[in-house]
Every structure is written in structure tokens, then in C-alpha cells.
């Protein structure tokens, strides 16, 4: 299809949604409101052998979304149009398509809420159920069916749901998900707790996956795997808050669930997490620990990649926003399991003190430490495959090899009314063999200086300088960025990420962003390095790209 026709098709979809939204004038006086958004991300790719972009079949690639939601006192309804016939690079093969994959109607009356259609839901921390949308990863595992929420009894929240899960443009009816959740807020039942300012929640959840697709045949023999049609998972949790203290604990258990993720073994899955934090003005501390094993839970047992997960194990690695610290992001190992520890401590030295200076100084220390479990594998039944066995056995406190660690120190310092700086040092170990399948252990030290200069009321100049040192993988990197903001509408950036360690390749980028009311338009040109885009512990491999990018969003 010619470039002009593709552009016309995409622009038409986009314009229709925008015009429809703008043309409907339903006001708040009638108790009915229309909200929504439009988003389009476009790439005009150029083949670039120097960074291995590969070849492109199309001259323009884009992902676009248009959401419309009607909100009223008793009834909500909404739909989303998606158009990714020629999607941006790096998404899974089944991602491309177009249509209205999300549509719902919701009614509420006196503490009862009933949803029919597509919906997202999470029980607790997501150990056994988390359906969500994350566009940058191409994840949308919404359930299509029905959900009832009851909050009619003070202090009690009940949820029951059932449906089939979205897998891109397919909803497989032979795989169904059902769930129930109850949360009790004890402080609403017991006055004594309220009197002592204690907030205490108990929660319990149950999820059932029913999949009637027969198990697969075994290579080399005339056997078929006898798989359970019903897989159950439970979750128990509690959360206590008093004053500056906050303590949470959660336990989850999953029944026999032979799947691609666990090599079709029959062991049970478990997850346990504890978290404690304390904070008051100027100081805070957080400590968390999590152990999970065999907790990859999908609605289709043979699926691989990032789709069809019913649950989501929370990420236990600090999410970096600076480019070089984010070069080696950790992806949660839900199937083999992990021991993960995370903590942070923040302290603000007050203004007009020796360490605080005139404006105060904030210091943050974060650490993440993740290890695998001490797996002991049984004798295989067929070849070297563990198919049909109970899978590996582990001791609860036993740990295997190190997967990841990250210790970083950040200092935020304001020098004057117009100048402030952030400094960061990070020490990191990234086990690329485990996380990406090959590459050994990468040890890095990263330094970041981020300087902001508010020139006047309109102009702000920001500069980032980053340096990553490693003796492994591609060696050292340097990153520089200059960003000029012209309030309130414009921002121009120029950046370069330079692999000074081995290849000498420059990943340059020039961008211009405009904001006007609810509109945001970004235009950029340059190269993007092959890497991973991660959110919440889930990562998508992004191939290297070179070309013009245009991103537009409008929210109303």
C-alpha cells in the first residue's frame, strides 16, 4: 500500500475520533460527561546498517488509539478504537490489526456496581490477578465478561468476575477466568481501631482458570499430557497503617498448572511478600522482601512472550528514568522464581543548615537485590525435558545465583532560586545470561549530573551528563542531553548516547515538543539503540530504529 494511502487511512481514523469527541457537547448540567483521549505514535523508518535496524516493508509505521467514555451518575459506557495495522517495530507478531477491542457498560446503584464488557481488575498486589493496559509494552490482557462489585456493607468490599482474556485480536472461549475477592477494613467495624488511628485491612482472593484445550502430545512417544482443566490460585493479604508506620504482608498459592513457562511440570506455585515503611516530614524508609516460585499464570498454557498473563509479579528493581542507568533493566523472573529485596531511605537536610545549605538538600539511597532459587531438578522422564514431573524442588530460604543488584545514591540540591542539580551514582550487576538468555554478568558504575537553570519566567535550560563504565558487553557509554523549555508551550531537546567503549556508534536525537491545553505533539529525528522497554518488571525488546517520529496525544 502506498505511503499516501496509509497516511490517509491513519489520519482518517485519528481525525474521526477527534472530531467525534469535539462534536459531542454533553455538559455537566445534565449529569453526563464525555471523557476520552486520542493517541498516535508514528515512525517514518530509515534502514541503517550501522545500528542493525533490519529492513522495513512499509514507509510509515504507527500505533493509534482513541478512547471515549461516557460518565453519568448511574451508568458509564465506553469504547476504544485501536489501529495498528502497520505497528511500530518490536511488538509481537499478533499485535498488528485494528478494531474496537475494548467496549464496556457499567451500572452502579447504592453500593452495587455491575460491569459488562471489557474491564481491568487487580486483586491485592496482582499475585494471582492483574489485568491492565500498558501501551508501550503492547500489553492489554483485559477480561471480557462481567464483574460485580459490592461496597454496600461498610468496611467490606466484595468483587466477583468472570470472562475470557484478550490476546491481541482474539478472545479464546476455551480459556476462561473467574475470580472473587473480599477485603475487610477492620477500622470501619471496630471503633477501638479508629480511636487509635489504626487502619487494618484483611483481604482474600480466589482465581480459577478453566482451559479445556487438551494437553499437547509428547515428542517421540504416543502420549498426550493429561493437564488439569481447572487451575486455582489463592491470595491472602493484610495491610496495617498507624501513624508513620505502614506494614503489609501477602501470600499467594497456585495449583498444578503445567505450561510453557514451567516446562509443563506439575509443581505448585507460591509467592510471599512483606513490606515495611516509615515516613515523616523530611525522612522516609522502606524495606521489602519477596519470594516467588512458579507463579507465571496464563490463561493459555502454551503461550509464550508477554501476552495472556492473568497475574503480574510486582517489580522489585528501581525504575530508572535516566538513559544510562536504564540501559540494563531487570525483568521479573516469574516462572523460575526469585528472592528479591528492595529498600530505600530518603532524608532531607533542612534549609539553612550546614549540610542543607540555603535551600535544603535531599539525599536518597535505593537498593535492589535479586537472586534465583536453589533449584534441585528431578530425573527427566523424556530426554532432558522435565515435562510431566513435579519440576524442581527448592528450600524456602535457599538462594541460587545472583540475578541483579542495584545500589544508587541520589542527591537533589538547589543552589539558588534558578539553579538546581541532581547527582546520581549507581553500582549495578545485571545477569544478562539469565535475563536475556546470553551475555554473562554485566557490572556497571554509572554517574549522572542533571542541572536545571531557570533563566527567567519563560526559559529553562536543562542539561544531563551521564557516564557508564563497564568492562563487559559493549563497554563504556557517554550520554549528553540539552533541553530548552519555553513556557508554557514548547520544549526542544538534543541528545546523544555514544558507545565510546566498543563500537563508537552515536545514537543522536533531536526533538521538539509542543503542549497546548490538552494537546501534546512531539516531533523527533534520530536513532534509538536496540534495548528493552520495561514497566512493572515486564520488558519488551525494542529493535534499533532510525528515522522521524511523531507522537500526538489529546485528552478531554
Amino acid at each position: 500500500m502506498k505511503l499516501s494511502r496509509k497516511l490517509l487511512t491513519g489520519a482518517s481514523v485519528f481525525a474521526l475520533a477527534t472530531v467525534s469527541a469535539a462534536a459531542i457537547t454533553i455538559g455537566g448540567d445534565n449529569g453526563v460527561a464525555l471523557h476520552g483521549s486520542v493517541q498516535a505514535d508514528v515512525l517514518f523508518p530509515q534502514e541503517d546498517e550501522a545500528i542493525n535496524t533490519g529492513k522495513y516493508e512499509h514507509d510509515v509505521l504507527f500505533n493509534s488509539y482513541a478512547d471515549l467514555n461516557l460518565i453519568s451518575r448511574y451508568v458509564d459506557a465506553g469504547a476504544r478504537l485501536e489501529f495498528m495495522k502497520w505497528p511500530l517495530p518490536g511488538y509481537e507478531k499478533d499485535f498488528d490489526g485494528w478494531g474496537v477491542p475494548h467496549i464496556y457498560a457499567k451500572g452502579r446503584y447504592k453500593g452495587f456496581e455491575l460491569t459488562a464488557g471489557d474491564f481491568y481488575e487487580q486483586f491485592g498486589s496482582g499475585f494471582i490477578l492483574r489485568t491492565y493496559e500498558e501501551r508501550s509494552l503492547g500489553i492489554d490482557n483485559a477480561l471480557r465478561g462481567g464483574r460485580l462489585r459490592v461496597t454496600a456493607v461498610p468496611g467490606l468490599r466484595l468483587t466477583a468476575l468472570g470472562g475470557v482474556q484478550r490476546h491481541y485480536w482474539d478472545w479464546k472461549t476455551s480459556s476462561q477466568v473467574y475470580g472473587a475477592d473480599a477485603e475487610v477494613l477492620l477500622e470501619q467495624m471496630f471503633g477501638k481501631l479508629r480511636k487509635h488511628n489504626i487502619s487494618w485491612m484483611f483481604g482474600a482472593s480466589y482465581v480459577l482458570k478453566r482451559e479445556t484445550t487438551p494437553g499437547q502430545t509428547i515428542s517421540g512417544v504416543d502420549y498426550r499430557l493429561n493437564v488439569p482443566e481447572n487451575v486455582s490460585a489463592f491470595d491472602l493479604r493484610t495491610h496495617v497503617r498507624k501513624g508513620n508506620f505502614d506494614i503489609m504482608g501477602e501470600f499467594a498459592w497456585k495449583g498444578q498448572d503445567p505450561s510453557f513457562d514451567n516446562d509443563y511440570t506439575y509443581g505448585k506455585g507460591t509467592a510471599v511478600m512483606v513490606s515495611a515503611s516509615w515516613s515523616k516530614s523530611g525522612i522516609s524508609a522502606l524495606l521489602q522482601a519477596k519470594r516467588s516460585e512458579n507463579m507465571a499464570f496464563r490463561s493459555q498454557r502454551m503461550m509464550s512472550g508477554t501476552s495472556c498473563f492473568i497475574n503480574n509479579m510486582p517489580a522489585f528493581a528501581y525504575l530508572h528514568t535516566y538513559a544510562l542507568p536504564a540501559l540494563y533493566p531487570y525483568a521479573t523472573q516469574a516462572a523460575p522464581g526469585e528472592w528479591a529485596f528492595q529498600g530505600n531511605f530518603a532524608y532531607t537536610f533542612k534549609r539553612r543548615t550546614a549540610l542543607g545549605g540555603r535551600y535544603g538538600t535531599k539525599v536518597k539511597v535505593n537498593f535492589s537485590y535479586i537472586r534465583g532459587l536453589d533449584h534441585k531438578y528431578p530425573a527427566p522422564l523424556f530426554g532432558s525435558s522435565l515435562i510431566g514431573t513435579d519440576g524442581s524442588s527448592t528450600s524456602f530460604f535457599g538462594m541460587g545465583e545472583a540475578y541483579y543488584h542495584d545500589v544508587n545514591l541520589q542527591v537533589e540540591k538547589k543552589w539558588s532560586q534558578s539553579v538546581s542539580q541532581n547527582f546520581m551514582y549507581m553500582n549495578q550487576m545485571y545477569n544478562k545470561s539469565v535475563i536475556e538468555g546470553e551475555g554473562g554478568r554485566i557490572k556497571t558504575n554509572v554517574f549522572v549530573v542533571d542541572t536545571k537553570w531557570k533563566i527567567d519566567k519563560r526559559f529553562t535550560l536543562r542539561n544531563e551528563l551521564q557516564y557508564l563504565h563497564t568492562c563487559q558487553d559493549e563497554g563504556d557509554w557517554l550520554f549528553g542531553l540539552l533541553e530548552l523549555s519555553v513556557a508554557p508551550y514548547l520544549m526542544a531537546t538534543v541528545s546523544d548516547m555514544w558507545n565510546c567503549g566498543t563500537s563508537g556508534t552515536h545514537y543522536y536525537n533531536f526533538g521538539l515538543t509542543g503542549n497546548y491545553r490538552s494537546n501534546r505533539l512531539m516531533v523527533s529525528y534520530g536513532r534509538t539503540r536496540e534495548g528493552f522497554n520495561c514497566s512493572g518488571g515486564v520488558c519488551r525488546r525494542i529493535p534499533a530504529t532510525h528515522g522521524f517520529q511523531v507522537s500526538y496525544s489529546y485528552t478531554f
Binding site: I218, S219, D222, R224, G383, S384, S433, E438
Partner: protein
């Protein structure tokens, strides 16, 4: 209420545990399959792919089960492949990436069965293979490949197509090699320096995209080719380990029939 919720939870947990499948009940015996055709399995693999040795074992098990009815081809491709042009050369040919990209494969190992299964994980190969094997083919392919003592650096290939019905498609012939000793990462990320790679794709005989053929029912078509045996410092084929694979791919992408033969060394004719 809380006590009731707790008791209900324990009861439900107990009930679910009783429904576990014991080890002795995890396999259901099924009927064997009689092969009605030869099926092509394109295994997209890589020397740095830690899960690929397990896929190679799946293929070994399937070959043991179905013998000559299965033609596996290991196509090294993607980010886990090592290019044949590297300073320390690997098994990935440039056209391997071309074939990989046609299926849009970016995870490894993946296999495509008879060009119509889509990219499948190794655990899914057996099911699809069983289905394909039972579909009668309307084409037979007779294949022979010899190295003459007169021309030891070349393989003479003869391919005879015997259709039972009118058909059109793209005929593709590939050179494969067994017994290549080269590096491979295992599932723990350890390097196996002397791993034995089998049915490795080495070259296309009649072009990367093959050639279009039109066949008439019950009319044989004989085609002949010559392939040079590579013997460079980066790639040295061992003639005794070579095979030729031929298959006809139809317009829908599916393979109508496949065939494989070993390359044999012919006798020198006495003058």
C-alpha cells in the same frame, strides 16, 4: 464474618489440593500416526540460544519417532545466531535471516511446520506434526545428489517431481550438513565448545527464493542442478555429512511435499 471467611478459604484450599494429578496419571496413551507424506520442520535456532539444545532434542525424538517422514532443517538466525562471516565464524547464513524474517520470528527456538503452522514453540511441534503427517500428499519428489570423482568440488542434484494433480508453486532446494562441531550455549549459559550440530542449513541450491514451477497431473518434471562445495577458511563443508532437501511451497505458504537425500560420492567411470 472474618472467621467464616477464613474457614471457607481453608476448605476451598483443601478441596482444590485433592484434585491434583498424580505422576502416574499425567500421560494418556494415544494412537500412533501413519505418515502419508514427508513433512518439513524449519527450526529457527542459534548458537547463543540457551533454550535451543532442548529444541534440538525434541527434533531428535521426532526423527526417531517418524524417521524419513520428517525433514528437519536448523536455520540459524536472529540475535542468538553467529554469522558465518564473523572473525570466529558461526553457522548463520545471510539467507537464514531472510527466511526468519518472512515468518516474523524474534524469539528462539521456534519451529515452522510445512510452512503453515506459524512460529511454534517446541512443545507444540508434536501436535501439529501429527496432523500434517496424516494429510495425503498429491506430489512425490525423488531426489538424488552425487559427487563425481571427476568433479569432487561439486554436487550434482537431480530432482524429479511426480504430481497427481495440477499444481503450481515454488520449488526450493537447500544444502544441509550434519555433524558440525561448533560452539553452543547450554540451558545454564555454559559454553559447549564441541557441540554437534545436525541438519544445519548451509546454502540454497536454486536461489534464496527458489524457482516457480507449474506441474501437470501425472506428468513428471525432472530438474538438474550443480552446487559448489564450500571450502574456505570460514566455512568448510564435509561432503560425507551433506544432504539435499527439496520442497514445493504453494501460494498459501504451505508445503505440498518435501524430500531429503544424502549426498553420495559416485564411482569414477573407467575409460
Amino acid at each position: 464474618m472474618i472467621r467464616n471467611l477464613f474457614i471457607a478459604t481453608l476448605l476451598a484450599l483443601g478441596a482444590v489440593s485433592c484434585s491434583d494429578i498424580k505422576e502416574s496419571d499425567r500421560f494418556i496413551t494415544i494412537e500412533g500416526v501413519t505418515a502419508e507424506r514427508v513433512v518439513l520442520l524449519e527450526d529457527f535456532t542459534g548458537q547463543n540460544c540457551v533454550n535451543c539444545p532442548a529444541a534440538h532434542q525434541e527434533i531428535d525424538a521426532l526423527v526417531k519417532q517418524y524417521g524419513d517422514a520428517l525433514v528437519p532443517v536448523a536455520i540459524h538466525a536472529g540475535s542468538f545466531g553467529i554469522p558465518s562471516t564473523n572473525r570466529r565464524p558461526g553457522l548463520m547464513q545471510p539467507e537464514g535471516q531472510t527466511y526468519n524474517d518472512r515468518y516474523g520470528i524474534d524469539e528462539y527456538p521456534k519451529g515452522v511446520i510445512n510452512g503453515r503452522s506459524g512460529a511454534l514453540n517446541p512443545g507444540e511441534w508434536s501436535d501439529f506434526l501429527r496432523e500434517e503427517l496424516q494429510v495425503p500428499a498429491e506430489l512425490d519428489i525423488d531426489l538424488s545428489a552425487t559427487i563425481s570423482a571427476d568433479e569432487p568440488g561439486k554436487i550434482a542434484v537431480e530432482c524429479i517431481l511426480r504430481p497427481d494433480a495440477n499444481m503450481q508453486g515454488t520449488l526450493q532446494l537447500w544444502v544441509l550438513e550434519d555433524g558440525i562441531v561448533a560452539r553452543q550455549l547450554d540451558k545454564d549459559g555454559n559454553l559447549i565448545p564441541d557441540y554437534v550440530h545436525n541438519h544445519v542449513y548451509r546454502a540454497a541450491v536454486n536461489g534464496v527464493d527458489g524457482e516457480n514451477v507449474t506441474l501437470q497431473a501425472n506428468t513428471h518434471k525432472t530438474l538438474a542442478y550443480t552446487v559448489g562445495i564450500r571450502n574456505t577458511d570460514k566455512e568448510a563443508w564435509v561432503p560425507e555429512n551433506l544432504s539435499i532437501v527439496a520442497f514445493l511451497r504453494q501460494a498459501d505458504g504451505g508445503v505440498a511435499q518435501a524430500a531429503k537425500c544424502h549426498v553420495v560420492t559416485g564411482d569414477v567411470e573407467e575409460e
